[in-house]
């Protein structure tokens, strides 16, 4: 389905969603942090959107805000969109988890928590997946400094 | 009655009795025989290991050991020396006494049952008239050793391996026993040398008993491989699931005992098959009956090696069975087949359709 009619269907789901297409070949939807969970569940349940396959969930540090980028695809209707959500509180960033909508999010959100420190509420088992439990700091943040193993050329 | 070949026996026998009082002489004679069997046991064990590694290599496009000695003959001797010199390490929270005792159970079980086999007319240490029954009962001592080893080494994987081995051996002893029973029915006696006498005139038992004997042989081979924890049934030390199973924590000579005992068990299972199905040391169709210089025990070893090759062939071709499939194979397939086969054999003998 073309990006335009995708856009006006999604526009109806919640207010102040920002749409943009520059710099990426998919339709980007930026969702305010509070409306994330219900928009995403509608993205999946709505019959003519039917995004049932979240194929890539990326943690992102845009300088001041931290956030998550969801690449979603519908296996039946064969269209894709990119959902972005941001939070500008860097000390205790929390977003609500979407693992009950797409089960793959459970592991990917653990990875985002491990590297960016974004906590996900009502996530089944939020823990450090890759790094040792007593690792301090969030490695993939831009302001992470570690003289020992970071060779900055 | 111990009958050992070659005329040196009587000279040694008289010499002993002449210089020592009655009781002491017989005891020294036993010790000599025991030492002879221990040496035979060690040599057979070592060279079976080498044979297994060579045969495995030929199956798998490889060369097998060829660096120690020509064609790798001294490879297993080098292994044995290495294992002897290795430190026997007992891990911390291990049940000390049981941990040390376990390997000896396995070795003793294997060694005792070696004594009953008729390698040739005179070369049989212990010709008792309940031969098969004795063999059958001694073979269950090994399981206690494995269970003790698994439990005492205080390692979760070893415990699971030991439990599996207990399960497996107990259920497969049933079909080993029953298939042996079918053949004993045909042979008429439990004494091993008697069984061979029967086969001297009427030809090999597997030919005499035609169809039921062949079925009994197939069941015996399957159950025999399961008895020695080998081939498709090697759940006990399944590399990809339990690491090294019950002998994970053992090292040095203790590991060598477990390792050697497995090969000796294989030798025992194939020699029972040879005695009961293929006429022990009798030459096939009596071709070397007349020639006196041809050593009879050579036939015994040729037949045993053929059966051992068959068991090795199983090992390097089939994947492993799961625990519950192992039990369904035994209780739902082998056992009923065995019982039906027993009845068929009885009917065949009753109507004496045997050849």
């Amino acid at each position: 389905m073309k990006n335009e009619d995708l856009q006006n269907i999604i526009n109806g789901l919640a207010e102040n969603l920002a749409f943009s297409e520059e710099g990426s070949e998919f339709l980007n939807v930026t969702i305010p942090k509070e409306a994330l969970h219900n928009v995403c569940s509608q993205l999946k349940s709505n019959s003519d959107l039917d995004f049932d396959y979240a194929y890539c969930i990326t943690g992102m540090d845009w300088g001041e805000e931290l956030g998550v980028i969801y690449h979603l695809e519908s296996t039946k209707l064969k269209h894709k969109i990119v959902v972005k959500v941001m939070t500008d509180d860097r000390e205790n960033p929390t977003l609500d988890s979407v693992w009950d909508i797409w089960r793959t999010a459970e592991f990917h959100e653990l990875e985002v928590y491990d590297f960016f420190g974004v906590k996900f509420n009502n996530h089944p088992g939020l823990r450090r997946l890759f790094l040792t439990p007593d690792w301090d700091g969030w490695p993939l943040r831009k302001d992470y400094v570690d003289e020992a193993n970071m060779i900055v050329k | 009655m111990m009958n050992i070949p070659l005329n040196i026996v009587s000279t040694v026998h008289d010499w002993l009795f002449s210089i020592m009082p009655e009781g002491v002489a017989t005891v020294t004679e036993w010790i000599i025989v025991a030492a002879l069997y221990l040496a035979l046991f060690a040599v057979i064990g070592l060279y079976l290991v080498l044979l297994e590694r060579k045969v495995a290599a030929w199956f798998q496009l490889r060369l097998g050991p060829n660096r120690v000695g020509p064609w790798g003959i001294f490879q297993t001797i080098a292994d044995a020396l290495k294992l002897v010199s290795k430190e026997i390490y007992n891990p911390a929270r291990v049940d000390g006494f049981l941990f040390k005792i376990a390997p000896y159970f396995v070795i003793v079980g294997a060694l005792i049952s070696m004594s009953v086999f008729p390698f040739s007319k005179q070369f049989q240490a212990f010709d008792i008239n309940i031969g098969i029954f004795f063999l059958f009962s001694v073979s269950s001592i090994g399981v206690i050793g494995i269970l003790l080893g698994g439990w005492a080494s205080n390692n979760k994987f070893a415990l699971i391996g030991a439990m599996r081995s207990g399960l497996q051996t107990i259920s497969y002893e049933l079909s080993v026993g029953l298939s042996l029973l079918t053949m004993v029915l045909l042979a008429g006696s439990l004494q091993l040398s008697e069984i061979i006498e029967v086969q001297r005139t009427g030809g090999w038992l597997i030919l005499q008993g035609h169809i039921p004997a062949i079925i009994a042989f197939m069941i015996f081979m399957i159950a025999g491989t399961a008895e020695t924890n080998r081939a498709p049934f090697d759940l006990v030390e399944a590399e990809s699931e339990l690491g090294a199973g019950f002998h994970t924590e053992y090292s040095g000579m203790q590991f060598a005992y477990f390792f050697l005992a497995e090969f000796i068990n294989m030798f025992i299972i194939s020699s029972i098959a040879v005695v009961l199905f293929f006429g022990g040391w009798l030459s096939p169709f009596g071709i070397t009956e007349g020639i006196t210089w041809f050593p009879e025990f050579l036939w015994f070893f040729i037949k045993v090696l053929i059966i051992i090759f068959l068991m090795m062939w199983f090992r390097w071709t089939f994947p492993r069975l799961r625990v519950d499939q192992l039990l369904t194979l035994e209780w739902k397939y082998l056992l009923p087949l065995n019982l039906v086969n027993l009845v068929i054999m009885a009917v065949v003998i009753w109507l004496n359709w045997t050849f």
Binding site: I151, K153 | V55, A57, W58, L61, L63, W313, F314, T317
Partner: protein, 158 residues
């Protein structure tokens, strides 16, 4: 009934499996693919593009092509090339010119990616095909590629 049929085709599949390994056992004499490495050392020849180790070829006048432009050092992902250069007076033109002093190559850190050889404008460094690079002392892995007393071939400009 199905009881006997699945015993029958069970045994049939087991026998086909054994026939495959049996076939290999019979042809074992010529079928083995083991390379007896220490014995066949002299006959073992690597392919001509094999990436063994980075070396700097020198012609018979002990001259090489490296002008010290550091393009390879920049291209290397894990810093296994260090160029030590200094300014010397060029005999012909009399001007100050950048001359290569030492081209240090850490074989221990090199991941054989080939980006340095691709980035070199004067083809000064190429792949050597040796495959026995293991040493007992880590210091031996830090090599200086340009031989002592060698200088740039005339006419090579970066």
């Amino acid at each position: 009934m199905s009881y006997f049929s699945d015993i029958y085709n069970g045994i049939k599949t087991l026998l086909t499996g054994m026939s495959v390994t049996g076939g290999y056992f019979i042809r074992a004499r010529k079928g083995s693919i083991t390379q007896q490495y220490p014995d066949n050392r002299d006959t073992l020849k690597m392919f001509d593009r094999f990436r063994g180790e980075v070396v700097m070829p020198h012609d018979d006048h002990n001259e090489h092509h490296c002008t010290g432009c550091q393009k390879c050092e920049i291209a290397c992902p894990n810093g296994s090339i260090e160029i030590v250069w200094d300014r010397q007076v060029d005999p012909e033109t009399g001007k100050k010119k950048k001359m290569i002093d030492k081209h240090i190559y850490h074989l221990s850190m090199c991941t054989m990616c080939g980006l340095c050889i691709e980035a070199c404008p004067t083809d000064a460094i190429v792949w050597a095909q040796n495959y026995e690079n293991s040493v007992y002392d880590r210091a031996l892995l830090t090599k200086v590629l340009n031989q002592p007393g060698s200088k740039v071939k005339a006419g090579i400009e970066d």
